[in-house]
Amino acid sequence: MSGKERLSPEAQGYLDGEPAGDIGPEDRQAADQFEQAVQAYAGRLQTPDASVDRAVMAAVRAEARGPRRQSVWQWLVSPHPYSVRPALVAAAAVALIVLGRLLIDIPGIEFGDRPAQLAPEAQATILVRFELRAPDADRVTLAGSFNEWSPEGVELVRNSATGMWTATVPLEPGQHEYLFVIDGSQWIPDPNAHAQVDDGFGQANSVIVVGPRGVVRS
Protein backbone atom coordinates (compact mmCIF):
# COMPACT_ATOMS: atom_id res chain seq x y z
CA MET A 1 0.00 0.00 0.00
CA SER A 2 1.06 3.62 0.12
CA GLY A 3 3.02 3.38 3.39
CA LYS A 4 1.95 6.91 4.35
CA GLU A 5 0.41 7.38 7.78
CA ARG A 6 -0.65 10.93 6.91
CA LEU A 7 -1.98 12.27 3.68
CA SER A 8 0.06 15.15 2.26
CA PRO A 9 -1.61 18.54 1.72
CA GLU A 10 -1.51 17.78 -2.00
CA ALA A 11 -3.29 14.46 -1.46
CA GLN A 12 -5.85 16.17 0.77
CA GLY A 13 -6.44 18.78 -1.92
CA TYR A 14 -6.78 16.09 -4.54
CA LEU A 15 -9.39 14.30 -2.40
CA ASP A 16 -11.16 17.64 -1.96
CA GLY A 17 -11.60 17.75 -5.70
CA GLU A 18 -8.85 20.23 -6.54
CA PRO A 19 -7.04 19.86 -9.88
CA ALA A 20 -4.51 17.00 -9.85
CA GLY A 21 -1.80 19.01 -11.66
CA ASP A 22 0.63 19.50 -8.74
CA ILE A 23 0.31 16.13 -7.07
CA GLY A 24 3.19 13.65 -7.24
CA PRO A 25 2.72 9.98 -8.12
CA GLU A 26 3.15 8.73 -4.53
CA ASP A 27 0.67 11.18 -3.10
CA ARG A 28 -1.69 10.39 -5.94
CA GLN A 29 -1.44 6.68 -5.19
CA ALA A 30 -2.06 7.26 -1.47
CA ALA A 31 -5.09 9.41 -2.25
CA ASP A 32 -6.48 6.90 -4.74
CA GLN A 33 -6.06 4.02 -2.30
CA PHE A 34 -7.71 6.01 0.44
CA GLU A 35 -10.63 6.92 -1.80
CA GLN A 36 -11.00 3.32 -2.93
CA ALA A 37 -11.15 2.01 0.67
CA VAL A 38 -13.66 4.63 1.75
CA GLN A 39 -15.88 4.08 -1.28
CA ALA A 40 -15.86 0.33 -0.62
CA TYR A 41 -16.96 1.05 2.96
CA ALA A 42 -19.64 3.53 1.86
CA GLY A 43 -20.97 1.11 -0.75
CA ARG A 44 -21.63 -1.47 1.92
CA LEU A 45 -23.61 0.81 4.22
CA GLN A 46 -27.31 0.06 4.18
CA THR A 47 -30.17 2.54 3.96
CA PRO A 48 -33.22 2.01 6.22
CA ASP A 49 -36.05 0.45 4.23
CA ALA A 50 -39.60 1.63 3.51
CA SER A 51 -40.92 0.26 6.81
CA VAL A 52 -39.71 3.59 8.24
CA ASP A 53 -42.08 5.44 5.89
CA ARG A 54 -45.02 3.27 6.92
CA ALA A 55 -44.32 3.67 10.64
CA VAL A 56 -43.90 7.43 10.33
CA MET A 57 -47.07 7.87 8.30
CA ALA A 58 -49.08 5.73 10.73
CA ALA A 59 -47.96 8.04 13.54
CA VAL A 60 -48.64 11.13 11.43
CA ARG A 61 -52.15 9.94 10.56
CA ALA A 62 -52.85 9.15 14.20
CA GLU A 63 -51.71 12.64 15.11
CA ALA A 64 -53.78 14.22 12.36
CA ARG A 65 -56.88 12.28 13.42
CA GLY A 66 -56.52 13.40 17.03
CA PRO A 67 -57.91 16.64 18.41
CA ARG A 68 -56.36 19.63 16.72
CA ARG A 69 -53.84 21.41 18.89
CA GLN A 70 -55.50 24.73 18.11
CA SER A 71 -58.74 23.49 19.61
CA VAL A 72 -57.64 24.39 23.16
CA TRP A 73 -56.81 27.92 22.09
CA GLN A 74 -59.93 28.15 19.95
CA TRP A 75 -62.01 27.01 22.90
CA LEU A 76 -60.41 29.60 25.16
CA VAL A 77 -60.99 32.50 22.78
CA SER A 78 -64.44 31.49 21.59
CA PRO A 79 -67.47 32.98 23.41
CA HIS A 80 -69.24 30.79 25.97
CA PRO A 81 -72.58 31.97 27.41
CA TYR A 82 -72.87 31.81 31.21
CA SER A 83 -75.46 33.19 33.60
CA VAL A 84 -74.17 34.13 37.07
CA ARG A 85 -75.93 35.86 39.96
CA PRO A 86 -74.34 39.21 40.97
CA ALA A 87 -73.80 38.03 44.54
CA LEU A 88 -71.69 35.14 43.28
CA VAL A 89 -69.57 37.51 41.19
CA ALA A 90 -68.68 39.53 44.29
CA ALA A 91 -67.91 36.39 46.27
CA ALA A 92 -65.75 35.04 43.48
CA ALA A 93 -63.79 38.32 43.29
CA VAL A 94 -63.03 38.17 47.03
CA ALA A 95 -62.00 34.53 46.73
CA LEU A 96 -59.62 35.33 43.87
CA ILE A 97 -57.95 38.13 45.85
CA VAL A 98 -57.47 35.85 48.87
CA LEU A 99 -56.13 33.06 46.67
CA GLY A 100 -53.73 35.48 44.98
CA ARG A 101 -52.32 36.59 48.34
CA LEU A 102 -51.88 33.02 49.46
CA LEU A 103 -49.95 32.14 46.31
CA ILE A 104 -47.65 35.14 46.66
CA ASP A 105 -46.76 34.07 50.20
CA ILE A 106 -45.92 30.49 49.27
CA PRO A 107 -42.10 30.02 49.01
CA GLY A 108 -40.94 29.01 45.54
CA ILE A 109 -43.81 30.68 43.73
CA GLU A 110 -43.03 34.12 42.39
CA PHE A 111 -44.95 36.53 40.29
CA GLY A 112 -43.28 38.79 37.77
CA ASP A 113 -40.16 37.48 36.00
CA ARG A 114 -41.11 33.84 35.89
CA PRO A 115 -39.38 31.58 33.37
CA ALA A 116 -41.34 30.99 30.20
CA GLN A 117 -43.41 27.84 30.25
CA LEU A 118 -44.81 25.77 27.46
CA ALA A 119 -48.37 26.56 26.60
CA PRO A 120 -50.73 23.69 27.46
CA GLU A 121 -51.38 22.96 23.79
CA ALA A 122 -47.63 22.54 23.14
CA GLN A 123 -47.71 19.50 25.45
CA ALA A 124 -50.82 18.04 23.86
CA THR A 125 -49.19 14.75 22.86
CA ILE A 126 -46.19 12.79 24.06
CA LEU A 127 -44.05 10.52 21.89
CA VAL A 128 -44.19 7.02 23.38
CA ARG A 129 -42.00 4.15 22.22
CA PHE A 130 -43.54 0.67 22.15
CA GLU A 131 -41.35 -2.43 22.01
CA LEU A 132 -42.10 -6.13 21.60
CA ARG A 133 -39.69 -9.00 21.21
CA ALA A 134 -41.10 -11.29 18.51
CA PRO A 135 -38.23 -12.80 16.49
CA ASP A 136 -40.49 -15.18 14.55
CA ALA A 137 -43.10 -12.62 13.53
CA ASP A 138 -43.36 -11.35 9.96
CA ARG A 139 -45.39 -8.30 10.90
CA VAL A 140 -46.33 -6.60 14.16
CA THR A 141 -48.82 -3.77 14.57
CA LEU A 142 -50.18 -1.85 17.52
CA ALA A 143 -53.90 -1.46 18.18
CA GLY A 144 -55.37 0.44 21.07
CA SER A 145 -57.90 2.84 22.44
CA PHE A 146 -55.87 5.65 20.83
CA ASN A 147 -56.47 4.39 17.26
CA GLU A 148 -59.93 2.86 17.62
CA TRP A 149 -58.30 -0.59 17.95
CA SER A 150 -57.34 -0.66 14.30
CA PRO A 151 -54.76 -3.41 13.68
CA GLU A 152 -53.60 -1.48 10.60
CA GLY A 153 -53.04 1.74 12.48
CA VAL A 154 -49.44 1.56 13.68
CA GLU A 155 -46.83 -0.72 12.14
CA LEU A 156 -43.77 -1.62 14.21
CA VAL A 157 -40.28 -1.75 12.70
CA ARG A 158 -38.23 -4.93 13.07
CA ASN A 159 -34.68 -5.05 14.38
CA SER A 160 -33.51 -8.17 12.60
CA ALA A 161 -30.55 -8.70 14.92
CA THR A 162 -32.45 -8.64 18.21
CA GLY A 163 -35.92 -9.70 17.14
CA MET A 164 -37.29 -6.52 18.71
CA TRP A 165 -40.11 -4.60 17.04
CA THR A 166 -40.50 -0.91 17.84
CA ALA A 167 -42.74 2.02 17.03
CA THR A 168 -42.95 5.56 18.31
CA VAL A 169 -46.49 6.84 18.68
CA PRO A 170 -47.81 10.27 19.70
CA LEU A 171 -50.27 9.84 22.58
CA GLU A 172 -52.32 12.34 24.48
CA PRO A 173 -51.92 12.42 28.25
CA GLY A 174 -54.23 9.95 29.95
CA GLN A 175 -54.69 6.22 30.29
CA HIS A 176 -54.63 4.10 27.15
CA GLU A 177 -55.26 0.41 26.56
CA TYR A 178 -53.51 -1.48 23.79
CA LEU A 179 -52.46 -4.83 22.34
CA PHE A 180 -49.87 -5.96 19.83
CA VAL A 181 -51.13 -7.76 16.72
CA ILE A 182 -48.77 -10.38 15.32
CA ASP A 183 -49.07 -11.29 11.65
CA GLY A 184 -52.49 -9.67 11.49
CA SER A 185 -54.29 -12.26 13.60
CA GLN A 186 -52.69 -12.92 16.98
CA TRP A 187 -53.61 -10.24 19.53
CA ILE A 188 -51.30 -10.28 22.56
CA PRO A 189 -50.81 -7.98 25.56
CA ASP A 190 -47.50 -6.23 26.20
CA PRO A 191 -45.45 -8.49 28.51
CA ASN A 192 -43.66 -5.40 29.86
CA ALA A 193 -46.77 -3.37 30.67
CA HIS A 194 -47.22 -2.44 34.31
CA ALA A 195 -50.85 -3.44 34.28
CA GLN A 196 -53.33 -5.50 32.31
CA VAL A 197 -57.07 -4.96 32.53
CA ASP A 198 -59.95 -7.20 31.61
CA ASP A 199 -61.34 -6.23 28.22
CA GLY A 200 -64.78 -7.55 29.15
CA PHE A 201 -64.45 -10.50 26.78
CA GLY A 202 -62.20 -12.66 28.94
CA GLN A 203 -58.96 -11.30 27.53
CA ALA A 204 -56.49 -8.77 28.97
CA ASN A 205 -55.55 -5.40 27.53
CA SER A 206 -52.26 -3.70 28.43
CA VAL A 207 -52.39 -0.28 30.03
CA ILE A 208 -50.12 2.72 29.63
CA VAL A 209 -50.50 5.98 31.51
CA VAL A 210 -49.14 9.10 29.85
CA GLY A 211 -48.61 12.33 31.77
CA PRO A 212 -48.14 15.80 30.27
CA ARG A 213 -44.35 15.41 30.52
CA GLY A 214 -43.96 11.78 29.53
CA VAL A 215 -44.94 8.22 30.32
CA VAL A 216 -46.05 7.88 33.92
CA ARG A 217 -46.47 4.12 33.96
CA SER A 218 -45.92 1.61 31.19
Binding site: M1, S2, G3, K4, E5, R6, L7, Q12, L15, D16, G17, A30, F34, A37, V38, Q39, A40, Y41, A42, R44, L45, Q46, T47, P48, D49, A50, S51, V52, D53, A55, V56, M57, A59, V60, R61, E63, A64, T125, L127, V157, R158, N159, S160, A161, T162, T166, A167, T168, P170
Partner: protein, 181 residues
Protein backbone atom coordinates in the same frame (compact mmCIF):
# COMPACT_ATOMS: atom_id res chain seq x y z
CA UNK B 1 -48.39 10.26 -5.12
CA UNK B 2 -45.71 9.74 -7.78
CA UNK B 3 -46.18 13.09 -9.52
CA UNK B 4 -45.69 14.69 -6.12
CA UNK B 5 -42.14 13.36 -6.14
CA UNK B 6 -41.13 16.23 -8.41
CA UNK B 7 -42.62 18.89 -6.15
CA UNK B 8 -40.15 21.08 -4.29
CA UNK B 9 -39.79 20.73 -0.54
CA UNK B 10 -41.24 24.18 0.00
CA UNK B 11 -44.41 23.44 -2.00
CA UNK B 12 -44.90 20.15 -0.18
CA UNK B 13 -44.37 21.71 3.25
CA UNK B 14 -46.93 24.42 2.56
CA UNK B 15 -49.49 21.91 1.27
CA UNK B 16 -48.95 19.63 4.29
CA UNK B 17 -49.43 22.54 6.64
CA UNK B 18 -52.62 23.40 4.74
CA UNK B 19 -53.97 19.94 5.60
CA UNK B 20 -52.70 17.54 2.92
CA UNK B 21 -51.08 15.28 5.50
CA UNK B 22 -50.49 12.36 3.12
CA UNK B 23 -47.97 14.42 1.17
CA UNK B 24 -45.61 14.10 4.12
CA UNK B 25 -44.84 10.60 2.83
CA UNK B 26 -43.10 12.15 -0.18
CA UNK B 27 -40.74 14.06 2.09
CA UNK B 28 -40.19 11.04 4.33
CA UNK B 29 -39.21 8.80 1.42
CA UNK B 30 -37.08 11.52 -0.16
CA UNK B 31 -35.03 12.13 2.97
CA UNK B 32 -34.99 8.56 4.27
CA UNK B 33 -33.02 7.79 1.13
CA UNK B 34 -31.01 11.03 1.12
CA UNK B 35 -29.91 10.78 4.76
CA UNK B 36 -30.07 6.99 5.06
CA UNK B 37 -26.41 6.07 4.74
CA UNK B 38 -25.48 9.15 6.77
CA UNK B 39 -27.61 7.86 9.66
CA UNK B 40 -26.22 4.32 9.34
CA UNK B 41 -22.61 5.55 9.27
CA UNK B 42 -23.21 7.87 12.22
CA UNK B 43 -24.67 4.96 14.22
CA UNK B 44 -21.83 2.49 13.98
CA UNK B 45 -22.99 0.92 10.73
CA UNK B 46 -26.19 -0.39 12.33
CA UNK B 47 -29.06 0.06 9.88
CA UNK B 48 -31.68 -0.87 12.50
CA UNK B 49 -30.51 1.90 14.79
CA UNK B 50 -30.54 4.21 11.78
CA UNK B 51 -34.15 3.22 11.02
CA UNK B 52 -35.17 3.92 14.63
CA UNK B 53 -33.43 7.30 14.59
CA UNK B 54 -34.98 8.29 11.26
CA UNK B 55 -38.43 7.22 12.40
CA UNK B 56 -38.26 9.33 15.55
CA UNK B 57 -36.72 12.26 13.71
CA UNK B 58 -39.39 12.31 10.97
CA UNK B 59 -42.22 12.16 13.52
CA UNK B 60 -40.66 14.99 15.51
CA UNK B 61 -40.20 16.97 12.31
CA UNK B 62 -43.87 16.53 11.41
CA UNK B 63 -44.94 17.73 14.83
CA UNK B 64 -42.72 20.80 14.50
CA UNK B 65 -43.41 21.48 10.83
CA UNK B 66 -45.22 24.72 11.54
CA UNK B 67 -42.01 26.05 13.10
CA UNK B 68 -40.08 25.54 9.84
CA UNK B 69 -40.12 29.23 9.02
CA UNK B 70 -38.28 28.92 5.72
CA UNK B 71 -39.77 25.97 3.82
CA UNK B 72 -37.19 26.60 1.09
CA UNK B 73 -34.59 25.45 3.62
CA UNK B 74 -36.58 22.42 4.74
CA UNK B 75 -33.71 20.07 3.90
CA UNK B 76 -31.27 21.81 6.26
CA UNK B 77 -33.98 22.13 8.91
CA UNK B 78 -34.80 18.42 8.70
CA UNK B 79 -31.13 17.47 8.63
CA UNK B 80 -30.59 19.16 11.98
CA UNK B 81 -33.41 17.09 13.47
CA UNK B 82 -32.06 13.84 11.96
CA UNK B 83 -28.54 14.73 13.07
CA UNK B 84 -29.64 15.50 16.63
CA UNK B 85 -31.61 12.27 16.79
CA UNK B 86 -28.57 10.31 15.61
CA UNK B 87 -26.45 11.97 18.31
CA UNK B 88 -29.07 11.15 20.95
CA UNK B 89 -29.39 7.55 19.77
CA UNK B 90 -25.62 7.22 19.73
CA UNK B 91 -25.28 8.57 23.24
CA UNK B 92 -27.96 6.17 24.41
CA UNK B 93 -26.67 3.01 22.81
CA UNK B 94 -22.93 3.28 22.21
CA UNK B 95 -22.54 0.58 19.61
CA UNK B 96 -19.78 -0.30 17.23
CA UNK B 97 -20.04 -1.79 13.77
CA UNK B 98 -21.16 -5.38 13.58
CA UNK B 99 -19.80 -7.22 10.62
CA UNK B 100 -22.86 -9.42 10.25
CA UNK B 101 -24.87 -6.29 9.47
CA UNK B 102 -22.72 -5.23 6.53
CA UNK B 103 -24.24 -6.21 3.24
CA UNK B 104 -22.04 -8.66 1.36
CA UNK B 105 -21.58 -8.24 -2.36
CA UNK B 106 -22.31 -11.66 -3.86
CA UNK B 107 -19.46 -11.79 -6.38
CA UNK B 108 -16.46 -11.33 -4.07
CA UNK B 109 -14.16 -14.17 -3.22
CA UNK B 110 -14.00 -15.14 0.46
CA UNK B 111 -10.49 -13.76 0.87
CA UNK B 112 -11.34 -10.44 -0.72
CA UNK B 113 -14.50 -10.25 1.31
CA UNK B 114 -12.58 -10.79 4.53
CA UNK B 115 -10.19 -8.00 3.54
CA UNK B 116 -13.06 -5.73 2.66
CA UNK B 117 -14.74 -6.48 5.98
CA UNK B 118 -11.52 -5.75 7.82
CA UNK B 119 -11.10 -2.43 6.05
CA UNK B 120 -14.76 -1.59 6.57
CA UNK B 121 -14.52 -2.31 10.26
CA UNK B 122 -11.31 -0.28 10.59
CA UNK B 123 -12.99 2.69 8.92
CA UNK B 124 -16.13 2.43 11.03
CA UNK B 125 -14.12 2.05 14.24
CA UNK B 126 -11.99 5.05 13.30
CA UNK B 127 -15.14 7.03 12.50
CA UNK B 128 -16.62 6.12 15.87
CA UNK B 129 -13.51 7.46 17.60
CA UNK B 130 -13.61 10.85 15.84
CA UNK B 131 -15.29 13.90 17.28
CA UNK B 132 -18.94 14.25 16.32
CA UNK B 133 -18.14 17.22 14.09
CA UNK B 134 -15.33 15.42 12.28
CA UNK B 135 -17.39 12.25 11.82
CA UNK B 136 -20.36 14.20 10.48
CA UNK B 137 -18.24 16.20 8.05
CA UNK B 138 -16.40 13.13 6.80
CA UNK B 139 -19.59 11.12 6.28
CA UNK B 140 -21.28 13.93 4.37
CA UNK B 141 -18.21 14.39 2.18
CA UNK B 142 -17.22 10.80 1.48
CA UNK B 143 -20.34 8.72 2.09
CA UNK B 144 -23.04 11.08 0.85
CA UNK B 145 -20.77 12.77 -1.70
CA UNK B 146 -21.66 16.36 -0.82
CA UNK B 147 -19.53 19.29 -1.97
CA UNK B 148 -18.16 21.62 0.68
CA UNK B 149 -20.63 24.28 -0.47
CA UNK B 150 -23.55 21.88 0.04
CA UNK B 151 -22.20 20.88 3.44
CA UNK B 152 -21.83 24.51 4.45
CA UNK B 153 -25.46 25.18 3.55
CA UNK B 154 -26.62 22.09 5.42
CA UNK B 155 -24.58 22.58 8.57
CA UNK B 156 -24.34 26.39 8.54
CA UNK B 157 -20.58 26.10 9.07
CA UNK B 158 -17.91 27.78 6.91
CA UNK B 159 -16.25 25.77 4.14
CA UNK B 160 -12.74 26.25 5.58
CA UNK B 161 -13.79 24.86 8.94
CA UNK B 162 -15.44 21.89 7.23
CA UNK B 163 -12.30 21.21 5.19
CA UNK B 164 -10.28 21.18 8.39
CA UNK B 165 -12.65 18.66 9.96
CA UNK B 166 -12.55 16.39 6.91
CA UNK B 167 -8.74 16.59 6.65
CA UNK B 168 -8.31 15.60 10.29
CA UNK B 169 -10.76 12.76 9.87
CA UNK B 170 -8.91 11.54 6.78
CA UNK B 171 -5.59 11.62 8.65
CA UNK B 172 -7.02 9.50 11.44
CA UNK B 173 -8.56 7.03 9.01
CA UNK B 174 -5.37 6.86 6.96
CA UNK B 175 -3.41 6.06 10.11
CA UNK B 176 -5.80 3.20 10.93
CA UNK B 177 -5.78 1.89 7.37
CA UNK B 178 -1.98 1.88 7.25
CA UNK B 179 -2.02 -0.15 10.46
CA UNK B 180 -3.78 -2.92 8.52
CA UNK B 181 -1.25 -2.98 5.69
Amino acid sequence: MSEMGSQSDAVLVRRILAGEVELYQVLVERYRLEFGRYATAMLGGDVDDAADAQQEAFIRAYRSLASCREPEKFKAWLFRIVSNQCHNTRRGRRKHVRLDRVQDPPDESTQRQLEANEIGQAIQTALDDLTTEQREAFVLKHVEGYSYAEMAALLEVGEDALKMRVHRARDELQRRLEGLR
